[in-house]
């Protein structure tokens, strides 16, 4: 289509652009519509629906984000070891390919739904909605969503989660929060993982990571954890339990008010 030189105007269609023709442009034909809506409003709408769904079932949903290989699945395995006696946990796993991570979680006796995204670099609210059809929400207190390993794209998509946890392993650079501000800013808790390796690595300083986070106006907890040695696990688990009891209070409040 070329509207510049008029080469698309032929004998056959000329009448359409002449006065009174279907494509005749007058000033009345041009309208500017103000919208001011989020570009991802479709996703946001679905995310809000997912959140309602979680809340109706009294489930706290936590989105775990990090680069690949920073220990999300390992952290979940250890978290399940500690908490599964007291809370009913479920996991949605996001990966480009394989059921490997879901299988590791199932081996712990916990329901796990694997989403394979193919080439997509992030989970979105629609994928979570699909996975929820197979998730026994009635039987859960806590649902972890392990996002695709990626420090960029997952940050832009609300899934309907209540909280974001971002992991940074000590085998990465301690300046990662400065390089990927969007994902670290979004965190409700930052976990510096694989802390048992710190003695072997002289180029990762947890204080530097903390400072980089502070420069992002990050005000939430930062915990140094190792799912291997259990360092920091108590702090992480008590934060989780505090969130669970807070969520329980929030869901029971409206019911009391309506009585």
């Amino acid at each position: 289509m070329c509207d510049t030189c008029g080469c698309n105007v032929t004998h056959g269609n000329r009448h359409l652009i002449e006065e009174g023709g279907k494509h005749a442009h007058t000033s009345d034909d041009h309208v500017a519509i103000e919208v001011l809506e989020n570009l991802l409003s479709e996703n946001d709408h679905q995310a809000a629906h997912n959140r309602e769904h979680f809340e109706r079932h009294g489930v706290l949903a936590i989105n775990l984000m990090s680069s690949p290989g920073s220990g999300k699945t390992r952290l979940l395995e250890r978290t399940i070891d500690h908490l599964s006696g007291r809370y009913k946990i479920g996991v949605i796993e996001g990966d480009l390919e394989t059921e490997n991570d879901a299988q590791r979680i199932r081996n712990k006796g916990v329901p796990a739904i694997q989403i394979t995204t193919g080439t997509a670099c992030h989970l979105d609210a629609h994928m979570i909605h699909q996975a929820l059809h197979q998730t026994p929400l009635d039987q859960l207190d806590l649902l972890f969503i392990e996002n695709v390993g990626n420090l960029v794209c997952p940050a832009s998509f609300d899934l309907g989660q209540h909280l974001n946890v971002t992991l940074l392993s000590v085998t990465e650079g301690d300046d990662k929060p400065a390089k990927y501000p969007v994902i670290f800013r979004a965190a409700d808790h930052v976990l510096i993982t694989k802390s048992d390796l710190l003695p072997l690595l002289d180029d990762f300083d947890p204080d530097n990571a903390g400072q980089a986070l502070q420069q992002l106006a990050y005000k939430n907890p930062i915990t140094l954890v190792s799912a291997k040695s259990d360092q920091g696990m108590d702090e992480w688990l008590s934060w989780l339990e505090a969130q669970l009891s807070q969520a329980k209070e929030n869901t029971t409040e409206p019911a009391t008010a309506s009585l």
Partner: protein, 115 residues
């Protein structure tokens, strides 16, 4: 490359508006993007040239208005410019700030041709 997903979502919104307004063509799409939105305007432009094919926005122009990163200091109350990875108060240096601009990802307006 989540910009393609963002772009497809934007085009669905735009087509819905065009349909509602009974427009035949979308001439211009104006969006606002902040550096902390997680979306790169240049990549969105590239995605747009692919994603617009076969839609009413096939020949539309995508205009990006980038928004500045600005923070409000929760300690001293001062509003200042900041950088995406340095959101400190420019006056007192405190890190306890709130972002007041810079994370926008908005469809601001669309210009349509009717009839």
């Amino acid at each position: 490359m989540h910009e393609l997903s963002v772009c497809q979502s934007m085009l669905r919104q735009v087509e819905e508006i065009a349909q509602r307004e009974q427009a035949i063509l979308v001439e211009r799409i104006i969006i606002q993007i902040g550096p902390l939105s997680g979306v790169v305007p240049e990549l969105l432009q590239q995605a747009f040239t692919i994603a617009r094919c076969g839609t009413k926005a096939e020949s539309a122009e995508l205009v990006t208005e980038t928004q500045p990163v600005r923070v409000h200091c929760l300690q001293c109350g001062y509003d200042s410019d900041a950088q995406a990875n340095r959101l400190l108060c420019a006056k007192c240096g405190d890190y306890r700030t709130r972002l007041i601009s810079g994370d926008e990802l908005l469809l601001a307006s669309v210009e349509l041709t009717k009839n």
